[in-house]
C-alpha cells in the first residue's frame, strides 16, 4: 500500500469512523429487523386452555348445595352480599342468587344472567331469572378452566385488547411507570435525569425506563445489566416507537409483563393476573385492585398480596397516592380506595392443572389430531367431558379407602396404589380419571399406563360370546365344573382351580358367572374357541393385538384400566361400541369452531346377548362375588358388576354399571407384589365408596325385542311357574327357553325342597 505522506493517521481515523458508522448502521438495521419481526409475527406462544364440562342447571337436576358450592369455588365465583357483577353469588338458606359470567361457547355467545336457584333435597327445584322473575327451563354456566397445555417456558396469559382494560389500570400505569408515555419518543431523557436524582435521594418511585423500554427489555433482551445492553434497549425503543403507535405498544406491554407465579406456571399480562388475583376480567377491575396490580410490577414476588399482604398493601397505597398527586384521582377517591382491603381471592396453587391424570388423557387424544407445538402455542380452547363432581367423588374414594384398607388388614402403609375411571354409560364421555392415590401427582398415570392381568373381568366377555348362540347357550345352560387338566405339547399341564379350591359339578351358566367359577369358565371358553372370545374383545373396543392362550380365559392378558373401561363401555351401552371421549369440541384462540368430536356409536353385538349378560352381572351383585356391595349401596340400584382377582392377590379389580355411570377400579402395588385383597375387598370397596357419594341412578335395562321373561327353577334349569317355590324369572332369547317343566312345588306346602332329580326318584 502506498502512503500519501503527511496524514496517514487522519485517513485511518476517517476509515475507522466510516467503518464504525457502517457497523452502527447495519447493527441498527439488524435491530430494526428484529424489532419488527417479533412485533409483526405471533407475539406470544399461548398454551391451549382446557375446560371442564359446563354445568347445565335445570329443575330436577341431581345436585346438592355442597356440590353447587364446590362448582362455584372451582369457577372462582365470589360470594357477596348482593350479587350484581358477573361471577358473584349469595346464599339465602337453600336459595342461591347468582350472576353468571358471559361465555363465548362454540354454539353461540352466552350472555350473563341474573339467576335465582332453589335447592330442595338433593336436587335443583326451581330456576328463574331474577330480573324478569320468569322460570327458566335450562341454564348453562361458564365452564371451569382446569388446566393448560403449556409451552416449555410455562408462561401463561389471557390476551386482552386495550379497550377491555379498565381506566384505573391505565391511569395507574401511566402515573407510576411512565408519566410522559404519550409524549416521549420511546426514551425519556427528563425521566432518566429525574430518576438519577430520585435514586440518589433515596425517594425512588419511578425507574428511568419508559414503558416502551421495559417492553423492549422483556421482549427482546436478556436480563444482564450492561451499558451496551442499555444502549441497545434505547435504540430498539426508538425503533419500536417509529414503527408502531403508542396504543399498540401499550396493549403489548399490558399483555407481556410478568405478574406472578402459580407453581411452575408463570402469570403474565393483566388479563390473566386479573383473573388469578381477583377472579374477574380486567374490564371490571376497581381502582384499588388496579393499583395493586400496577404496584406489583416492581417486584411480583416481593409484593405478592397472597404471601406478603402487608407489603402489597403499602405498595398499593403508595401507587394510589401517586395517582392522586398526578391528578388522576381526587383526594376523596384516594381515601376511599386506600381504605379498601386487598380483595384478593383465595386460591390454592394449581400449577399447570389440579387434574393431571385427566389432562394426560386429553393431551393423548389431542395428539392424534394435532401437532404438539400447535397445542403448546396456538391458544386453542379445549372443551372436555370432565365432570368435577364425579372427579371429586372418585379422588376422595381412592385416597380415603386405600389407607383404610392398609390399616384394617395390616398392609404396609402407603404400599397400595390404585386407579379409577368413570364414564357416562350411553355416550362414552369420560367424566373422571384418577391415576393414583395422590391425585395431584403429575407422574405415572396408572389409569392409562398400568397394564395388569384382568383376571375374572374377562368372564362377561366369554359368557356373552356363548350367549350369542341362543340355540346352544342360555342363562340356564348347565356347565361342567369338575376337575380339568389341560395338556398341550411343549407346555406344562395346566389344571385350573376355583377360588374356593372346590369343584362344583354341574352348574348353570348364571351360577358359574355370578360365583366366578374358573374351571367351568375355562371349559366354556375352550369350547367356544379362545380366538372367538379374543376377537370379541377386539370388537368390544380393545385396540391392541393380544396373544391367545388358554390362560387368557382366566384373564392372564394384561390391560390398562382405560382399556378395560373401553371394553365394558360396550356392555354398558347395550352392545354399541363408542370410542371413549374426553373432548367435545375445540375452538381457536379467537373462538372459531375448529373441530367437534360428535357422538359416534356402532352396534358390534346384538342387544339380546348383551342384555342377558348384564342381567347375569346384576346377579353377581345380588347373590354372587360382589354381594357385599350391598353394604355400600342400596340393592334397589340393581348394579351390574364383576369382580376380578389375580394370582396371589396381586391385582384387585371391579367394573360396575349403574343407570348413569360405568366405573372401573383397580387396586394393587406398583412393584406387583401380593396385596391380600380380592376384587371385592379392594377395588369394589373403592368403587362402592365412590358410587355412594355420587348417588347414582338405578340400572333399568331396556328389554330387546327378541327377549322374553320366563319362570324357571334355578336348580334344575327347567321351566317353572310364577307361584312355584324358588322359581325365578329370567330373560331368554325368544324360543330358547327350556321347554320341559319342573314339577311345581307350592311354597305354601312348606316342606323342604329338594332338587328336581331327587323328587323324581322320590315319586
Amino acid at each position: 500500500m502506498q502512503a500519501t505522506g503527511l496524514r496517514p493517521s487522519k485517513r485511518l481515523l476517517i476509515k475507522i469512523v466510516l467503518a464504525g458508522l457502517l457497523l452502527a448502521a447495519s447493527y441498527t438495521l439488524y435491530l430494526d429487523f428484529a424489532v419488527r419481526e417479533r412485533f409483526e409475527g405471533k407475539r406470544w406462544e399461548l398454551p391451549a386452555k382446557v375446560y371442564a364440562r359446563p354445568l347445565e342447571l335445570y329443575p330436577g337436576l341431581k345436585l346438592t348445595v355442597t356440590e353447587m358450592n364446590a362448582e362455584l369455588t372451582l369457577l372462582g365465583y365470589r360470594e357477596t352480599a348482593s350479587p350484581e357483577e358477573p361471577g358473584s353469588y349469595c346464599w339465602n338458606n337453600r336459595t342461591l342468587d347468582l350472576v353468571s359470567r358471559p361465555f363465548p361457547f362454540g354454539d353461540g355467545f352466552q350472555e350473563s344472567l341474573s339467576l335465582r336457584i332453589l335447592f330442595s333435597g338433593d336436587r335443583v327445584q326451581r330456576l328463574s331469572d331474577r330480573t324478569s322473575k320468569k322460570p327458566l327451563p335450562l341454564v348453562r354456566l361458564d365452564p371451569a378452566l382446569i388446566g393448560g397445555i403449556y409451552p416449555d417456558k410455562k408462561e401463561d396469559r389471557v390476551l386482552v385488547k386495550l379497550d377491555q382494560v379498565s381506566d384505573p389500570v391505565l391511569d395507574a400505569l401511566i402515573a407510576v411507570e411512565d408519566r410522559r408515555f404519550f409524549s416521549h419518543c420511546g426514551i425519556d431523557l427528563r425521566g432518566i435525569g429525574r430518576a438519577i436524582v430520585a435514586t440518589s435521594t433515596g425517594d425512588s418511585v419511578q425507574g428511568g425506563s419508559t414503558l416502551t423500554q421495559q417492553l423492549v427489555k422483556n421482549f427482546y433482551l436478556s436480563a444482564e445489566r450492561t451499558l451496551q445492553r442499555k444502549l441497545t434497549e434505547m435504540v430498539m425503543a426508538l425503533l419500536l416507537e417509529l414503527h408502531y403507535d403508542k396504543l399498540e405498544i401499550l396493549e403489548t406491554y399490558l399483555n407481556e409483563v410478568y405478574l406472578g407465579q402459580d407453581g411452575d406456571r408463570s402469570i403474565n399480562g393483566f388479563g390473566l393476573a386479573s383473573r388469578f388475583f381477583f377472579a374477574k376480567p380486567v374490564s371490571q377491575l376497581d381502582l384499588h385492585e388496579a393499583a395493586l396490580l400496577v404496584g406489583m410490577l416492581k417486584g411480583p414476588s416481593y409484593y405478592n398480596p397472597r404471601s406478603n399482604p402487608q407489603r402489597a398493601l403499602q405498595r398499593r397505597n403508595l401507587v394510589l397516592r401517586v395517582m392522586a398527586d398526578e391528578a388522576f384521582i381526587t383526594e376523596g377517591m384516594l381515601i376511599a380506595a386506600q381504605a379498601e382491603p386487598l380483595g384478593v381471592v383465595e386460591r390454592q396453587s394449581r400449577g399447570t392443572s389440579p387434574y393431571p391424570a385427566f389432562l394426560n388423557l386429553v393431551h393423548r387424544q389431542l395428539r392424534q389430531d394435532y401437532r404438539d407445538e400447535d397445542l403448546r402455542s396456538e391458544g386453542l380452547q379445549i372443551f372436555t367431558t370432565f365432570d368435577p363432581r364425579v372427579q371429586r367423588a372418585a379422588e376422595r374414594a381412592l385416597s380415603r379407602r386405600l389407607p383404610q384398607l392398609e390399616k384394617a388388614r395390616g398392609i404396609q402403609p402407603n404400599s397400595l396404589q390404585g386407579a379409577l375411571l368413570v364414564t357416562s354409560t350411553q355416550n362414552a364421555e369420560v367424566q373422571a380419571v384418577v391415576g393414583g392415590r395422590d391425585p395431584r401427582f403429575e407422574g405415572f398415570n396408572r389409569a392409562l399406563d398400568a397394564r395388569r392381568p384382568i383376571g375374572s373381568l374377562i368372564k362377561p366377555i366369554i359368557y356373552l360370546t356363548a350367549l350369542q348362540y341362543p340355540e346352544r347357550y342360555t342363562l340356564m345352560t348347565r356347565l361342567d365344573d369338575s376337575p380339568l387338566v389341560l395338556q398341550q405339547p411343549g407346555t406344562k399341564d395346566w389344571a385350573p382351580e376355583n377360588y374356593d379350591q372346590k369343584f362344583h359339578g354341574e352348574v348353570t351358566l348364571l351360577e358359574s358367572l355370578s360365583n366366578s367359577y374358573n374351571v367351568s369358565t375355562v371349559r366354556l371358553g375352550l369350547k367356544l374357541g379362545v380366538s372367538k372370545v379374543m376377537s370379541n374383545l377386539k370388537q368390544f373396543g380393545l385396540a391392541r393385538e393380544v396373544p391367545e392362550y388358554a390362560s387368557s380365559m382366566l384373564g392372564a392378558t394384561p390391560l390398562s384400566p382405560l382399556e378395560v373401561t373401553q371394553i365394558y363401555q360396550t356392555i354398558a351401552s347395550g352392545g354399541f361400541n363408542a370410542p371413549l371421549k374426553a373432548i367435545r369440541e375445540i375452538l381457536t384462540a379467537e373462538g372459531k369452531p375448529l373441530q367437534r368430536y360428535p357422538l359416534v356409536v356402532e352396534q358390534v353385538v346384538e342387544g339380546a346377548p348383551t342384555y342377558l349378560v348384564t342381567v347375569a352381572m346384576q346377579e353377581v351383585v345380588r347373590r354372587g362375588t360382589a354381594s357385599n356391595l350391598g353394604s355400600y349401596l342400596p340393592s334397589a340400584l340393581e348394579v351390574a358388576g364383576k369382580t376380578g382377582t389375580t394370582d396371589n392377590f396381586r391385582d384387585s379389580w371391579f367394573a360396575g354399571i349403574t343407570g348413569d355411570h360405568l366405573a372401573v377400579a383397580w387396586v394393587g402395588r406398583d412393584d406387583n407384589q401380593p396385596t391380600s385383597l380380592t376384587g371385592a375387598s379392594g377395588a369394589m370397596s373403592v368403587w362402592g365408596t365412590m358410587m355412594a357419594d355420587l348417588n347414582p341412578e338405578p340400572l333399568i335395562l331396556p328389554e330387546p325385542e327378541n327377549v322374553e321373561q320366563i319362570w324357571v327353577d334355578p336348580v334344575s334349569g327347567l321351566r317353572s311357574g310364577a307361584g312355584c317355590r324358588d322359581a325365578i324369572k329370567l330373560p331368554f332369547v325368544t324360543g330358547s327357553a327350556p321347554t320341559e317343566f319342573a314339577p311345581c312345588s307350592r311354597p305354601s306346602v312348606g316342606k323342604s325342597i329338594k332338587g328336581w332329580f331327587e323328587r323324581i326318584f322320590d315319586r
Binding site: E56, Y58, P59, G60, G106, D107, G108, P137, L138, S424, T425, Q426, N427, E429, G574, G575, F576, E585, P593, R596, P598, L599, V600, V601, E602, Q603, G607, G659, D660, I700, P702, E703, P704, E705
Partner: protein, 133 residues
C-alpha cells in the same frame, strides 16, 4: 242417567280422545324440550352441526330417551352421514322397548340411510321391518 252425571263422563272421554290424537311428547323434562326446540331451530337455519350438539346436550340429560337418538339419526341423514344415521336409529330401537311407532320410524330411517349408501337390498329389508313383516 241424567245429563248432569253424563257430562263429566263425556268430557273425560273427549279429553282422552284428543290425547290419543296428539303425538306423544318426546320428553317430560322441560330442559330437554327446550334443547329439542333449539335443535329444530338450528335445523331450520341449516346449522346441522349445532343441531347435533344441542341434541347431544339433551342426551346428557336423558341418555335413555329413544326420541333423542332418533332426532340425531335424522340430523345425520341430513348431513349425509348415513352410516352414523343408521347406527343412531339402531340405538334408538334398542331403547324403544314396546314403542312400535318409534321402532317403525327408526326402520324407515335405516332404510333411507341404506338406500343412500347404495344398499337397496338392505333398505328393502329395513322397510319390511318397518311394516312389521
Amino acid at each position: 242417567m241424567t245429563t248432569k252425571r253424563l257430562f263429566p263422563l263425556l268430557a273425560a272421554s273427549l279429553l282422552l280422545a284428543s290425547c290419543a290424537l296428539l303425538p306423544p311428547s318426546p320428553s317430560q323434562n322441560r330442559a330437554v324440550l327446550s334443547l329439542l326446540d333449539q335443535a329444530n331451530n338450528q335445523i331450520t337455519a341449516g346449522q346441522l352441526d349445532q343441531a347435533g350438539a344441542s341434541l347431544e346436550r339433551a342426551m346428557r340429560i336423558e341418555p335413555l330417551n329413544p326420541a333423542l337418538w332418533q332426532e340425531l339419526a335424522q340430523v345425520r341423514i341430513a348431513q349425509g352421514r348415513y352410516q352414523q344415521a343408521e347406527n343412531m336409529a339402531a340405538k334408538s330401537n334398542a331403547l324403544a322397548e314396546g314403542n312400535r311407532s318409534m321402532r317403525e320410524k327408526n326402520w324407515r330411517l335405516i332404510a333411507e340411510a341404506r338406500r343412500n349408501q347404495g344398499d337397496d337390498k338392505g333398505a328393502q329389508a329395513a322397510l319390511d321391518r318397518a311394516s312389521g313383516k
